[in-house]
């Protein structure tokens, strides 16, 4: 057992810190956190910088533009960028879901075509899994693809698709065999979002921002070979996507929570509505300490899971708690932060503390226990697949 950086990890960390300092504005750490709304142009430019410096796809194979390094280096990247509050890469879905699935299932040609542009931020990906009638129940997908000559013709509707409004490509789960059983009739397409017949309608969330979208497919023609795996293998390919999401998610979640805790501490040190600092209130102190403990619990649970992954090839059962714990912790944290602002907690624009950062974060956090597996589904998974209770359905 040893939590210290190896010499290689330590020098990677030092170089990264220096790189961040010299590539972010001089007054970066004194600036209030940005509200959380997405600046596409800034994010795309920053993504390119990261890519050129070799900080994107750190764990991906070298031949496809990755760094070929162990997962701990990705962890260090996420820790350091969270601590300094650096902008995110534009292609979250591509990096976390589409890319790893293409690495696992794609042909050489597909890997060459897609991966480098995904890493550089030149092409943005979105995910077409959930449908109005099948949210948690992916195998119930009804969007159809029928073969017509050398093309699939896609018709149907997807929903809750993050970043589809800026996406160039979509990983799309479709039903290619309506006669086959629920799971066996699915296939996994790579769809050009600029194709005729693709219509994206942003869904305004409770934050007032569109981040998720509906995607409508009307006679969209997709080349026959623009598929991962064979027709009928869509379920297995999709499981790769979701497993990867849950496997490497821990680091990203820890980084996001660390950033939130640092911002909470910063807020607590500002004078509150009555002029007193919340950081001097024993009740607030207790609750902030609990947030800090919850953060460390996530961090070290993720380390344990990663150690199991590196030693045995599969993440340990403890990894299944990461997203569940993070989402509920983040909700408590953002609610606590708002409570430090008094009635000013209602201001969400000009005149609000940090231009409404916490107002946005608190509302956005309500989605955390719904997206990427609701807390109810995650508790079912833990009960049934980890603890071994009988199936509830």
């Amino acid at each position: 057992m040893d939590f210290r950086d190896t010499p290689e990890e330590a020098s990677f960390r030092t170089e990264l810190r220096e790189w961040l300092r010299s590539n972010l504005p001089d007054d970066w750490t004194e600036r209030p956190p940005t509200v959380g709304r997405f600046d596409i142009d800034l994010s795309r430019a920053w993504s390119r910088k990261l890519y050129d410096a070799g900080y994107v796809g750190i764990t991906w194979p070298k031949e496809y533009g990755g760094g070929g390094l162990p997962h701990t280096f990705q962890g260090i990247y996420l820790e350091e960028t969270a601590r300094i509050g650096a902008p995110d890469h534009i292609g979250g879905i591509g990096l976390g879901m589409a890319g790893p699935t293409i690495v696992a299932w794609g042909s050489d040609e597909q890997k060459k075509r897609y991966l480098a542009k995904l890493l550089s931020g030149e092409e943005v990906w979105c995910q077409g899994f959930s449908e109005p009638g099948s949210g948690s129940d992916l195998a119930g997908a009804k969007t159809r693809a029928e073969l017509d000559g050398d093309e699939w013709v896609v018709n149907g509707q997807k929903v809750w698709s993050s970043w589809a409004h800026i996406a160039d490509w979509c990983i799309l789960v479709v039903r290619t065999d309506p006669e086959a059983s629920k799971h066996a009739g699915l296939s996994y397409l790579l769809v050009d979002m600029h194709s005729p017949g693709v219509e994206v309608r942003p869904l305004k969330q409770i934050t007032g921002d569109p981040e998720f979208n509906e995607i409508f497919f009307t006679d969209v023609r997709v080349p026959r070979d623009s598929m991962l795996g064979q027709p009928g293998e869509g379920w297995n390919v999709a499981m790769t996507t979701l497993l990867h999401e849950r496997g490497t998610l821990g680091f990203a979640l820890t980084a996001m929570l660390e950033r939130a805790v640092l911002n909470l501490v910063r807020l607590a040190r500002l004078p509150g509505p009555d002029g007193a600092r919340p950081a001097d209130d024993p009740v607030v102190r207790d609750r902030i300490a609990q947030q800090w403990i919850d953060l460390q619990a996530l961090r070290f649970t993720n380390y344990r899971s990663l150690t199991a992954l590196e030693k045995t090839g599969v993440p340990g059962p403890e990894g299944s708690v990461a997203k569940l714990h993070w989402s509920e912790t983040n909700q408590r944290l953002t609610t606590l932060a708002l409570s430090l602002e008094g009635l000013a907690a209602q201001l969400d624009g000009e005149g609000a503390i940090w231009d409404g950062y916490w107002q946005y974060q608190q509302l956005r956090s309500r989605g955390n226990t719904i997206e990427a597996g609701t807390s109810e589904i995650l508790r079912n998974i833990i009960a049934e697949r980890v603890v071994g209770l009988p199936r509830s359905r």
Binding site: D286, I288, A297, R304, V321, H325, L389
Partner: protein, 340 residues
């Protein structure tokens, strides 16, 4: 970054689990808990023979033993001897412990004064005082040891909820004591060691509560179905699982930090103690609820674990005491400097 115990540490874990399952089935634990002595003193020699009392064992070996003896609810003054008194003992006592001939605890709460090599005063809430041969008594004039086999009359037993780890009162009245060369600074180290131990032990208790809840809800039927198929029940079990995993991660981190004298060791043990002991109480309470009426009976073993969990939560301050330390580290540093 490596979050795994060594092969030797894993072997120690396996042998501890086998020994406890073999020698301390839960019906025997219950029988001992309800006995006058509260334990079987013959146990001590067995632990010595297995090397558990070896002074060379480090914080990570202690982490393993703490977790397993929490899981098995071993009635023996292991925590008191190794984590509380251990760092303060001199060579004589240390070799006596290693041989399984001596056992010790620490008496720190209350006023005791030294006059030469004699001690007077009362120390309250002393863990395992009725089971050990020696008690370590830190005073303003230095650290002393009192041989309880020579002076049994200084021990007053106190009825304790956790009958496997009872508290006693030490009443010294010009009682002869032996001066140990330990410095009072060592008490800081004792504090860290004992908090790390308590955290790991709490993880073992919580794991047992989880196992008991899982076993029961897999088989118990109501309304024609196994109750574990009801989400109201299964989600409760999932919540125990989450709590166990989070507590375990913190407890291992804290043990590692203590073993390496890491810069974060004090906040690590505070975080682990707060989360793991509250997690053990949470796990036991939810396991009791998942069992329904039988979980609320004296006959069922769950309350034994619940009381150990409560003992651990109460030891060295409830969670808020430790969170206050964390708050000081996180909130009172220089601006921009947060212990992350």
């Amino acid at each position: 970054m490596d979050f795994a115990f060594s092969e030797e540490q894993e072997a120690l874990r396996a042998s501890a689990r086998d020994y406890l399952a073999d020698r301390f089935p839960l019906d025997r634990v219950v029988q001992l808990a309800d006995s006058d002595a509260g334990w079987d003193p013959e146990t001590w020699r067995e632990l010595a023979d297995m090397g558990w009392l070896d002074p060379e064992l480090g914080a990570l070996e202690h982490a393993v033993l703490a977790e397993e003896t929490g899981f098995g609810l071993l009635p023996a003054p292991l925590f008191s001897t190794l984590a509380l008194a251990g760092p303060l003992l001199d060579d004589e006592l240390r070799s006596g412990v290693a041989a399984g001939e001596r056992s010790a605890t620490l008496a720190s709460a209350g006023d005791v004064t030294a006059s030469g090599d004699r001690l007077s005063g009362t120390r309250r809430l002393v863990p395992d005082l009725t089971s050990v041969t020696d008690v370590v008594v830190p005073t303003a004039d230095g650290v002393f040891a009192v041989d309880l086999t020579a002076h049994p009359d200084v021990v007053v037993a106190r009825s304790t909820m956790d009958r496997t780890r009872r508290l006693g009162e030490l009443r010294l009245d010009n009682t002869p004591a032996r001066r140990l060369d330990a410095s009072l600074d060592t008490l800081t180290h004792v504090r860290r060691r004992s908090l790390a131990w308590a955290s790991c032990e709490a993880v073992g208790v919580a794991q047992r509560a989880l196992d008991l809840a899982a076993d029961y809800t897999k088989t118990r039927q109501q309304f024609g179905r196994v109750i574990g198929t009801y989400q109201g029940v299964s989600h409760r079990v999932s919540n125990i699982f989450v709590s166990v995993q989070l507590g375990r991660s913190l407890a291992y981190w804290a043990s590692w930090a203590v073993s390496e004298a890491d810069a974060q060791q004090d906040i690590a043990v505070a975080a682990a103690k707060s989360a793991a002991t509250e997690g053990a109480v949470f796990s036991c309470e939810n396991a009791i609820q998942a069992h329904g009426g039988i979980g609320f009976t004296w006959e069922h073993v769950l309350h034994r674990f619940y009381k150990r969990a409560q003992w651990l939560e109460a030891f060295e301050g409830f969670g808020r005491v430790h969170r206050a330390r964390i708050a000081a580290a996180v909130l009172d540093g220089a601006d921009g400097e947060v212990a992350a």
